[in-house]
């Protein structure tokens, strides 16, 4: 059974168990949707809300409700107890599912994460559409990956055009020519060495295994004129050092800007740096 259908079936079983344990009439029908789904749909979500409402009413009426642990043991994570997992039990699908593949999303509304084979909730989710008795993909407000009609090439062109018009930030993988520090990469690191003066912290030359070091990837937003628009450092272990780095990077000379289809565009790039771990860390 495809993953989405299996998820749908399991969630429905859980809802049924909750309803039965609390003497709630569980009205459902077999899903007629023929293809694989995302594991949930407006109808599934409506059933869940119905259950939630019924339980609330029972709670308000002073009745005991039973939910905790009702379906415990139904879904157990695969791990082995104090022994190596047998190769025969290795489930390759598990590896596929373990991590969420996060992509950049151009939707300003919310979810930046497009998740392989999963469902991303939308703020304006509604249950107006019911997939029952429909032989086509249900129309929902959910972000659906793998849409067979999706024209990626057309979408990318439209996306680039919108990005340019709004002066939004291109990532490095979407540009034709990277932004370039005057004189190139080596000149950039020379410049950094000369301009980041935090005492005995930045370490450019020692071997990685000989000192306690911390990695950071400094994100630079370089606008379409080549000026540094913003600097982000995500490892805030040492605020003083972070401030020093950000201040220095913001004073960088003007870069040669990134180019996309012949136009200069705003772009973000990452500069990997390493430094000796601060003593107070």
């Amino acid at each position: 059974m495809a993953r989405g259908k299996q998820t749908c079936k399991i969630l429905k079983d859980i809802r049924r168990q909750i309803a039965e344990a609390n003497d709630i009439e569980f009205i459902t029908s077999e899903c007629q949707f023929q293809e694989d789904c995302l594991g949930t749909c407006p109808k599934c979500e409506a059933e869940l809300r119905y259950l939630d409402n019924q339980l609330t009413l029972r709670r308000l009426a002073g009745k005991a409700i039973v939910v905790a642990g009702l379906s415990a043991g139904m879904l157990t994570m695969a791990s082995c107890s104090n022994q190596k997992q047998d190769a025969d039990n290795y489930n390759p699908e598990y590896d596929e599912e373990y991590n969420v593949d996060v992509h950049e999303n151009d939707d300003d509304d919310f979810f930046e994460g497009e998740i392989e084979g999963e469902v991303v909730p939308n703020d304006d989710y509604d249950d107006a559409n019911d997939c029952d008795n429909e032989k086509k993909q249900p129309i929902t407000e959910l972000l659906i990956t793998g849409d067979p009609d999706f024209d990626a090439e057309k979408w990318e062109l439209e996306r680039d055009s919108i990005y340019k018009a709004n002066d939004w930030i291109f990532t490095i993988d979407r540009i034709d020519s990277k932004p370039e520090f005057p004189g190139g990469e080596l000149a950039m690191y020379d410049w950094i060495k000369s301009n980041v003066t935090h005492p005995a912290i930045i370490d450019w030359d020692s071997k990685i295994d000989s000192v306690a070091i911390w990695m950071d990837n400094i994100e630079l937003i370089i606008d379409k004129t080549g000026a540094i628009e913003n600097v982000n450092s995500h490892v805030s272990m040492n605020p003083e050092l972070n401030d020093e780095i950000i201040k220095a990077f913001k004073s960088m000379p003007v870069w040669k800007p990134a180019v996309k289809d012949g136009d200069n565009v705003k772009c973000s790039i990452y500069i990997p740096i390493r430094y000796i771990k601060p003593e107070d860390y």
Binding site: M74, A78, S79, F111, K207, I208
Partner: protein, 219 residues
């Protein structure tokens, strides 16, 4: 603390026994102290300005739609990333909102300040720890970071009698370690008292940031 927020890269609902028992919702934090060669989510290595900044309250409102599933199955919210343990105050606030019935789990490298870990002990029901490898050379080659904090934090968890609440993930990292290395890690951690292990293989997906960093290391 009323000003707590964090960049959230993604939220994935209805994960069945993938990030812990039961139905879980995975919340992916942006930001990680490591730079792993095969990182599946390199975008989380930075605070991408397009990631949404959420308060614990806002996150709670988004994920509580699945509360019934969580409570019925012993599931809950699993914080991943990125490195979730860089956000102990956020998780603390979130726990106050969701109460004790949801299981809170973190998928972590444990390469974090020990103070962060200490703050999390009261709020996290299970730590899913990807240790990479206990061999320091293998670890630093693969992540460009040393593993001293990982080892000291594992000892802290053992001292605090958290071994039963941990799943140690022992990956086979193509080109870096072998099954013998994994077995060696397993034996070292057995001595500390850890009991739950998960052997798995990394998928090869090259992280361009690692290669940039590697140029520096080799230079």
């Amino acid at each position: 603390m009323n000003n707590i927020s964090a960049k959230i890269a993604a939220i994935s609902r209805h994960r069945l026994a993938i990030d812990g028992d039961g139905v879980t919702t995975l919340v992916v934090f942006a930001g990680c102290p490591l730079c792993c060669r095969y990182c599946l989510n390199p975008l989380t290595l930075s605070p991408n300005p397009k990631f949404k900044n959420l308060t614990p309250q806002q996150l709670y409102e988004k994920v509580s739609i699945d509360s019934l599933y969580f409570v019925a199955t012993g599931g809950g919210v699993t914080f991943g990333g990125g490195e979730p343990c860089l956000h102990p105050d956020f998780i603390d606030e979130f726990r106050k909102l969701c109460g004790p019935q949801w299981q809170i789990r973190v998928e972590t490298s444990l390469n974090i300040p020990s103070d962060n870990l200490a703050k999390l002990l009261d709020n996290v029901d299970q730590f899913i720890i990807d240790i990479k490898d206990t061999d320091s050379d293998i670890y630093s080659d693969y992540t460009h970071t040393d593993n001293k904090l990982v080892m000291s934090n594992l000892r802290l968890l053992a001292d605090e009698k958290f071994c039963d609440k941990c799943i140690i993930r022992l990956p086979l990292i193509p080109g870096y370690n072998t099954d013998a290395n994994r077995q060696s890690s397993h034996e070292k951690l057995n001595i500390l008292g850890f009991k739950n292990y998960d052997y798995f293989n990394y998928k090869i997906k090259e992280n361009p940031l690692w290669h940039e960093a590697n140029k520096l290391v080799k230079s």
